[in-house]
Symmetry: C2
DNA sequence: GTCTATACCCCGATAGAC
DNA sequence: GTCTATCGGGGTATAGAC
């Protein structure tokens, strides 16, 4: 009995994975807005109504793909962080390069999570933990670095201080308020660099992409007080 | 005869404008990937085949919307630049704020030009001049500022110098090579900030959006050597 | 330049048999 | 859990009359 259920559960897991794989393939060809359960079923040799046993609606399939993408990216970033050599500056750059590397390998999944929202689709709260992973990693790097109080701190205008203190309380404990707004800005700017490269805005503008990116994210690191060569 | 032709031409211009207006409305509801000539025609009380006299295909309509969006944004930015008070730093911030303002007012047109590319659509070369306007404006601000040779210059690693010199030659004449890569990075990062705000990544993260943005683009300006209060 | 009609496709979702 | 069949939509694009 338990083996029969095991086999059944295994089959279900495998079919679910096959559906998501095929859906990812279609993401590349058609984009998230046109992701179609029928087309996925057709390609898998199933009939469309059978898919509804795995995903109750198109939006649920989309949600699964989004969570998978955030987790895949987060895992890559965390892995890079774990194996990075050097101090906070070097770890920061390594994580940023890992994010870019993942994005270049999975452009359509990147577009799914950081590109234009899919019209008519609203991501449920279940996506939040996966979505937060890269941000939390960068926060952690900044927090660790600023345990040493001799690091330079960005300037913080008075009208932003309450906002910065709210951020510290909400999601960045133990990060100095002068750092947290710069950190959030750097986080958004990182995705500006990646998006421009991925979506073609750098065509005929930036050729040496890797060196350019390394320099740019190094400057972002300096903006949050990090510098090369600090243990 | 010329008045008849004039009237005919005028009618054509008006219908063309009505088609684009309705298409822009649908961009908001359905997204660019699902822009549909039939739906536009239906809403205008026309029959779909009539639209083909104005736009030979769906992609041509899309191209027209893209060029219009770039021009609308470019015009807003140039206008802001023309009326900005103060030195290069203040002009930079004003232009960035104008870009953000336009984006907040036209989120779906922003998504059309700076969001995920529409699958299966490739923008023709005719879009390039309109697309370049904001970038050229920022280049101009940096060039004017660096006419004074006492401005601080970003560091430029050796492996990026040839790339920087190519950029200067290709699209940023008279801008110091040390400045141009930082400038291009700042340009991309500006759109990272705007995209994150527009596409919801700042929800529950950044609340004081205007003050946050002003501070962030001020830091971008410093990154290209500009500082407040320099004539 | 607009109309009708048409060819030939696509979709999400559900009902009910097996 | 998969199937057939179905409801009720949607689309691009063209032909040919007016």
């Amino acid at each position: 009995m338990s083996t029969a259920q095991g086999a059944r559960a295994r089959a279900r897991t495998e079919v679910t994975a096959a559906i998501k794989d095929e859906a990812r393939r279609q993401l590349a060809a058609e984009g998230a807005a046109r992701l179609s359960l029928r087309a996925v079923a057709r390609e898998l040799g199933m009939v469309s109504s059978a898919l509804y046993r795995y995903f109750p609606s198109r939006d649920d399939l989309l949600t699964a793909l989004i969570v998978d993408a955030y987790d895949s990216l987060g895992e890559r970033a965390e892995e890079a962080h774990g194996t990075a050599a050097g101090g906070p500056f070097e770890r920061w750059v390594t994580v940023c390069e890992a994010v870019r590397g993942w994005a270049l390998e999975h452009p359509h999944e990147y577009a799914l999570i950081y590109g234009t929202p899919v019209p008519g689709y609203t991501a449920p709260a279940t996506t939040v933990p996966a979505a937060a992973r890269v941000g939390l990693l960068l926060i952690g790097i900044a927090r660790d670095a600023h345990r040493k109080p001799d690091l330079p701190r960005p300037s913080l205008p008075d009208d932003l201080r309450p906002e910065a203190e709210r951020m510290v309380a909400d999601f960045a404990p133990d990060v100095p308020p002068e750092v947290v707004t710069a950190l959030v800005a750097a986080w958004a700017q990182l995705y500006g660099l990646i998006g421009f490269e991925l979506f073609g805005q750098f065509n005929r503008v930036v050729e040496e992409r890797e060196a350019f990116f390394r320099q740019a994210v190094g400057q972002l690191a300096r903006g949050v007080g990090l510098a090369p060569g600090h243990a």
